[in-house]
C-alpha cells in the first residue's frame, strides 16, 4: 500500500473556536484506491474534520492537499477532485432526483447528460429518478447523494457516516458499493463512522479519533488482532484461572468469566488441560472489543465522553 501515490494529505490540521481547541494537530494521508476509516464517537471531531477537508470550515492552522493542490489557496482545483456527502445528503426536496443532479451538473463545467445517466445507473435509481425527492426513502436519498458525489468523476470520495439511517440490507449494499469503487475505479475513500463493525468490514486502514486528536492510525487487521479477546466461562473459576494464566494473559475476570488475549494456537490446548483437570468449560468465545473497550484500552481509561 505504501508505494501507491497519496491523494489526500492532511498536515497538522487545527481548529479553534473561541479558545476551545476542537481539532488538535491532525495529520494523515490517503493512498490511491484505499478505503480509510475515520473512527470516533459522536462529538469527537469527525464531522468538523470532514468539513475542513471539503472547505466548508476554514482550519485555524494546518494544510489540506488534494492531488498536490492546496485546498485553502487553490480551492477550485483542489475541490474539483473531491466528491462528498457531509452528514446526510441534503437535496432539494421539491425537485426530482434528476433535476437535483442537473443542478449540480450545471455547477461543474463539462458534465454531459450521458454522465448523469451513468451515475443514475451506477446507484440503481433508474426507476425513481424522475420522482420528487420528498417521496424518496432515506436509502434512496443516500444513493442519490452518492450519485451527486460521483458526478464529477472525483478521485477522492469523502463520506460522512454513509450508512446512517440505512436498514441492514442498505448498509450491506453501501459497503459493497464502496469497496467496488475503491478496487475497480481506484478512488480513495474516506469513511467516517462511530461504528467499529462498519469500519472493520469496509476499510483498509483506520484512524481512531478522540476529543479532536488522532490516537492511533493502523491497518484494520493489526488493530483488531491486537484487540481481540477470548471469553472463558468456567466453573470453578479460581482453578481455571490458575491453569489459563500459565499460557495466556488475563485481562479481567467477573461473574465466572475470564477474559484473555486471543491466541489462536493455544486455545485448544488450554481447553484440553482445563477439561482434564476437571474444570467445566461452559463457553469459549472470541469477541471483538466494543468501541468503548477499544477506547479505554487506547486512551488508558478515558471513556467516550
Amino acid at each position: 500500500m505504501t508505494d501507491l501515490p497519496s491523494t489526500l494529505v492532511v498536515k497538522n490540521l487545527c481548529k479553534k473556536i473561541g479558545r476551545k481547541e476542537i481539532i488538535k494537530n491532525l495529520s494523515f494521508e490517503l493512498k490511491e484506491g484505499e478505503v480509510f476509516g475515520f473512527l470516533g464517537p459522536n462529538g469527537s471531531g469527525k464531522t468538523t474534520t470532514v468539513r475542513m477537508l471539503v472547505g466548508l470550515i476554514k482550519p485555524t492552522s494546518g494544510e489540506v492537499h488534494i492531488y498536490g493542490h492546496h485546498l485553502q489557496k487553490d480551492f477550485i482545483k483542489a475541490i474539483d477532485n473531491i466528491g462528498c456527502i457531509v452528514e446526510n445528503p441534503e437535496l432539494y426536496p421539491y425537485l426530482t432526483g434528476w433535476e437535483n443532479l442537473q443542478q449540480f451538473a450545471r455547477m461543474v463545467p463539462g458534465i454531459k447528460k450521458a454522465r448523469l445517466k451513468e451515475v443514475v445507473d451506477l446507484v440503481g435509481l433508474q426507476n425513481r429518478i424522475h420522482d420528487t425527492v420528498k417521496t424518496y426513502s432515506l436509502g434512496m436519498r443516500q444513493r442519490l447523494g452518492i450519485a451527486q458525489a460521483l458526478l464529477g468523476k472525483p478521485k477522492v470520495l469523502i463520506l460522512d457516516e454513509p450508512t446512517n439511517g440505512l436498514d441492514p440490507g442498505g448498509i450491506r449494499e453501501m459497503r459493497e458499493f464502496i469497496r467496488t469503487l475503491a478496487e475497480r475505479d481506484k478512488i480513495s475513500i474516506l469513511v467516517s463512522s462511530h461504528l467499529l463493525s462498519e469500519i472493520q468490514l469496509m476499510c483498509d486502514r483506520v484512524a481512531i479519533i478522540s476529543k479532536g486528536q488522532i490516537i492511533k492510525i493502523d491497518s484494520v487487521e493489526h488493530l483488531l488482532a491486537a484487540q481481540e479477546r477470548v471469553w472463558w466461562t468456567l466453573d470453578p473459576v479460581a482453578e481455571g484461572k490458575q491453569i489459563i494464566s500459565k499460557t495466556m494473559t488475563i485481562f479481567s475476570e467477573k461473574e465466572g468469566v475470564i477474559v484473555t488475549n486471543y491466541d489462536e494456537k493455544n486455545i485448544a490446548s488450554v481447553n484440553e488441560t482445563l477439561v482434564r483437570k476437571g474444570v467445566r468449560v461452559h463457553g469459549i468465545e472470541v469477541k471483538l472489543p466494543t468501541l468503548e473497550d477499544l477506547f479505554i484500552e487506547l486512551t488508558g481509561g478515558e471513556t467516550i465522553d
Binding site: 471539503v54 466548508l56 477550485i76 475541490i79 462528498c84 452528514e87 441534503e90 450545471r106 455547477m107 461543474v108
Partner: protein
C-alpha cells in the same frame, strides 16, 4: 454565472413562491377595486351627482372646517393646509385628481403599496434565498462544488434583482388589467401635476408642471423598483446571516411596520430620517405630499436607501465568503 442563475430560477419557480406573489397581488387588487367601486357608488348616492368638482369642493370645505376647529396639532394643521392648497390648484386648473380609469387606479395603487405591500412581497421571495439552503443543509452541496463562494452569492443577488423586477412589473400589470375591467382602460394621457416642493409649511408651486399620466407612472415604477431592490438587498443580508427563514421574515416585518408607524410620528426626532424604513415612501415627493421629517427630499431618501442597500450587500458578501458552515 448564467448556469448558476438558471439553477436559482429553477428553485424559485419550483418552490412556487412567485405564484403566491401573483395570487396575493391579484387578491389585493380585487379588494381595492371593489372598495373603490363601492366608494364611487356611495359618493354618487350622497351627492346625487357624478361631478368631481362638487366632490373636490366638498372635500376642501371639509378640510377647512377642520382647520378652523381648535384642538388639532400644528403639524397636522400644516399638512392639511398643504393639502387644501394642492386641491385648490387642481380645481382652478380644471384637473380631476382622481379621475377613474385603470391607469389612475394603478398609479394610486403603486403609490400606496410602496412602503408596505411591495416590500413584504419582496421579503417573501428573498428571505429564504440563502437561509433555506442553510437550514435544509443544501448549502453544503453548493459550497463543495468547484465554484467560488462569491459567485454563488452573486447568482443569488442577480436572482433577487430579477424577482424584484418581476414583482414590480406584475404589480403594475395586474393592477391595470384587473381594475380596468371595472373602470375602463383609458386614461394614460391624463395630465398629472408634479414638481410640488415643500419649504417649511409652504407649498411651493413655482416648479409645478403637468405631465401625462403614463410618464408619471413610469417614474413611480422606477422609484418602486429602487425601493424593492433596497429592501431585497437588506433581506438578502439577513438571509445570509440567519439560518431561519422565519427569523429573517420576522426582522424585516418588524422593520417595515415600525417604519410605517415611525413616519407618522417622528417629525420631532430628526435623526430618525437615516433609517431606511422611514424613507420608503419616495413617491410622495413627486406627488407633492409632505415628507415625514424636515430635511428629507427625494435625493436624500434615495441616497439613504442606496447606502443601506450597498452596506447590506457588503456585509452579505463578506459574511458569506468567510463563514464556517456547520
Amino acid at each position: 454565472m448564467i448556469n448558476l442563475v438558471h439553477n436559482e430560477m429553477i428553485k424559485l419557480v419550483r418552490k412556487k413562491r412567485l405564484y403566491v406573489i401573483i395570487a396575493i397581488i391579484a387578491v389585493l387588487v380585487f379588494l381595492f377595486t371593489y372598495a373603490q367601486m363601492k366608494q364611487v357608488e356611495s359618493m354618487q348616492e350622497r351627492l346625487g351627482t357624478m361631478d368631481w368638482r362638487t366632490e373636490l369642493q366638498q372635500e376642501i370645505t371639509n378640510t377647512q372646517n377642520r382647520l378652523n376647529s381648535s384642538g388639532i396639532s400644528d403639524e397636522w394643521r400644516g399638512y392639511l393646509q398643504i393639502q387644501v392648497s394642492q386641491q385648490q390648484y387642481y380645481l382652478e386648473q380644471d384637473i380631476n385628481p382622481s379621475a377613474p380609469g385603470a391607469p389612475t387606479f394603478m398609479r394610486v395603487f403603486i403609490e400606496n403599496s410602496i412602503d408596505l405591500v411591495l416590500p413584504l412581497l419582496v421579503v417573501v421571495v428573498v428571505a429564504d434565498l440563502v437561509s433555506s439552503e442553510s437550514s435544509v443543509g443544501t448549502i453544503k452541496m453548493l459550497l463543495t462544488r468547484p465554484v467560488k463562494r462569491w459567485r454563488i452569492l452573486f447568482s443569488k443577488l442577480l436572482t433577487m434583482i430579477l424577482s424584484v423586477s418581476f414583482i414590480v412589473l406584475s404589480l403594475g400589470f395586474l393592477s391595470y388589467a384587473i381594475s380596468g375591467a371595472v373602470f375602463g382602460y383609458s386614461g394614460w394621457n391624463l395630465p398629472i401635476l408634479t414638481g410640488f416642493a415643500i419649504e417649511g409649511e409652504e407649498l411651493v408651486t413655482t416648479n409645478v408642471r403637468l405631465i401625462e399620466q403614463w410618464q408619471y407612472i413610469l417614474m413611480e415604477l422606477g422609484l418602486t423598483w429602487f425601493v424593492g431592490i433596497t429592501v431585497g438587498a437588506i433581506t438578502l443580508m439577513l438571509s445570509v446571516i440567519m439560518r431561519s427563514t422565519a427569523a429573517v421574515m420576522g426582522v424585516m416585518l418588524a422593520a417595515l411596520i415600525s417604519g410605517a408607524i415611525l413616519s407618522n410620528m417622528v417629525s420631532s426626532w430628526e435623526s430618525a430620517k437615516y433609517f431606511f424604513m422611514v424613507n420608503l415612501r419616495v413617491t410622495n415627493y413627486i406627488s407633492g405630499m409632505g415628507a415625514p421629517i424636515d430635511g428629507m427630499s427625494l435625493g436624500f431618501s434615495l441616497s439613504v436607501l442606496a447606502i443601506w442597500g450597498l452596506a447590506a450587500l457588503v456585509i452579505a458578501f463578506i459574511t458569506f465568503t468567510r463563514k464556517d458552515v456547520y
